[in-house]
Structures are given as structure tokens and as C-alpha cells.
Symmetry: C2
Subunit: 119 residues, 2 copies
Amino acid sequence: MTKQRKVVYDVLLEERDHPTAQTIFERAQNELSSVSLATIYNCLDALVSHDVVKQVNIDREPSRYCANLCEHGHFHDQSTGDIIDVKFKPDVDLTQFLDLPQGAVIENLELNIKGFLKQ
Amino acid sequence: MTKQRKVVYDVLLEERDHPTAQTIFERAQNELSSVSLATIYNCLDALVSHDVVKQVNIDREPSRYCANLCEHGHFHDQSTGDIIDVKFKPDVDLTQFLDLPQGAVIENLELNIKGFLKQ
DNA sequence: GTCTTTTTTAGAACTATTCTAAATTTGCTA
DNA sequence: TAGCAAATTTAGAATAGTTCTAAAAAAGAC
Ligand SMILES: [Mn+2]
Ligand SMILES: [Mn+2]
Ligand SMILES: [Zn+2]
Ligand SMILES: [Zn+2]
């Protein structure tokens, strides 16, 4: 855990708004002005591959990053651009409701919802 | 419906393996050797915005395209790279099992599963 | 403290996609 | 069918998020 990785991780814990690498870079610079964008990407890769951070890809937009480790989906508000965590109701296993191919072993399930908030 | 759009759509109906724009380009050239990659993108945009084709984005890989209009998710086999349609079991509404934010109106739901097929 | 390995950094490179502008095609109306 | 306007196609340039490269710095082991 280097200084840079700690700053990146702290940025993600501090404000849970699913920032992009660029936004994380800008926030990290407040703590560590010498940090580079390449390092932000390197740190995010390290955190993601150690399963401490999730990478969230919606459409073809820049990746966003999430420190919420509970299984959850994402609601993308199309009016504001906000991305909000969506928990599954207690004890729900979504895969029960799917016609999965024979012998399917699931490593990862991703649920992305687009819409808006009425009123 | 131009010649080019018909060829692109036919390619998608012919082989339902979720090809990329590049693969569609290569297949379309067999029918219409003068077609350009920019046109493939233009045609796909037209088909997607008329809701005749779905664009499937998984991770940061090139977009894939799907002519299956039933609501379905995608299983991404990590051993082969294949992307397989996953139907929802009859009469299942996945949004029932989610803690959606107050007033959420859903425009689109995307479900991507990564894993492999045992045996 | 020295040596080895890992990480950081700046900048170049990469690549899927979009943009530009000219040529072609399409579809309408005469 | 001919003429015209609008839409589409095309080749190639541009864009942008991300990855790569190689040198410098930092970390970790002994
Ligand atoms: Mn952001
Ligand atoms: Mn392909
Ligand atoms: Zn999240
Ligand atoms: Zn599909």
C-alpha cells in the first residue's frame, strides 16, 4: 500500500459518487499534487485486481470506480448523470430467475439500469 | 432502408453471435465489397436508434450488436469469449427484487454475467 | 546500507469510435 | 423521366480513454 494507492482508495471512500479516473485524479491532486494520471490508472488496476474496488462500465462512457463491496447494481440517472447504488432485496439471488446455459459457473454479475427520477 | 443497412441487418440476423463492428464489416464485405467501416457504424447507429438492434457493452471491449429484441441478459464465457443470450424465466420482473430509488422510472435494464461453462 | 524488485512518472502510442467534407444515392415533385 | 433537395456513404483525419514504455524513485529484503 503506497502513498498513492492510499490516496486513491481514500478518495473512493470519501465521496461515493462513482468518479471516473480523471475525477479521481483531480481529487487525489488535492492530497498529493505530484501524482500522475498514469499512477491513478495503475492504482485503480491494483485495487480492482485485489477486489477492494469495483470498476463500473456503463455504455461506452469512461469507467467509474466504486468502493462498495456489497453485491449491488447501478442506476444511471439520465437527467443528472448520477450513478446510484441499487441493493438487491434481502436474500434475493437474481440468477434463480435466469435461463442460464447448462453448466454455467458465474464469476461476476453486473446490473446496470438507465432511467430517471420522477418529481 | 438502404442497401448497406440491409446488409448490416442481414449479417446480424444470419449469425447471432454478437459480432463487433469490425466483424460485421468483414461479413458485410462478402455481400457488398465497397462498403466502408464508417458506414457500418452509421448503419448500426441507425438500427440501434430505431430499436431494431441492441448494442451490447461488456467491460471496455468493443461494442457488440444483437438482433434479439426480447428482453434478455448476456452471459460472457471467459474461456471462449462467446457471448450467449440469457432469457429471464417466464413472467419474471427483475426490478421487483431491487431497492430502487424513490420515483425511479426505468428506460433500460442491462444484465451482464461473466463466467465459464463447466465440462 | 546495499541490492533487488516494485512502483511511479511523463509522455508516446494505441484503438474503438466519431467527425469532416466531398461524392453518391435516394426520394420527391414536376 | 428530369431536376432538385435531403439523406447517406465514403475515405481519411481527429478524438479520447486507456495502456505502454523506459527512466527515475521508492520500497522491501538481507
Ligand atoms: Mn466523474
Ligand atoms: Mn467479434
Ligand atoms: Zn456502486
Ligand atoms: Zn443478445
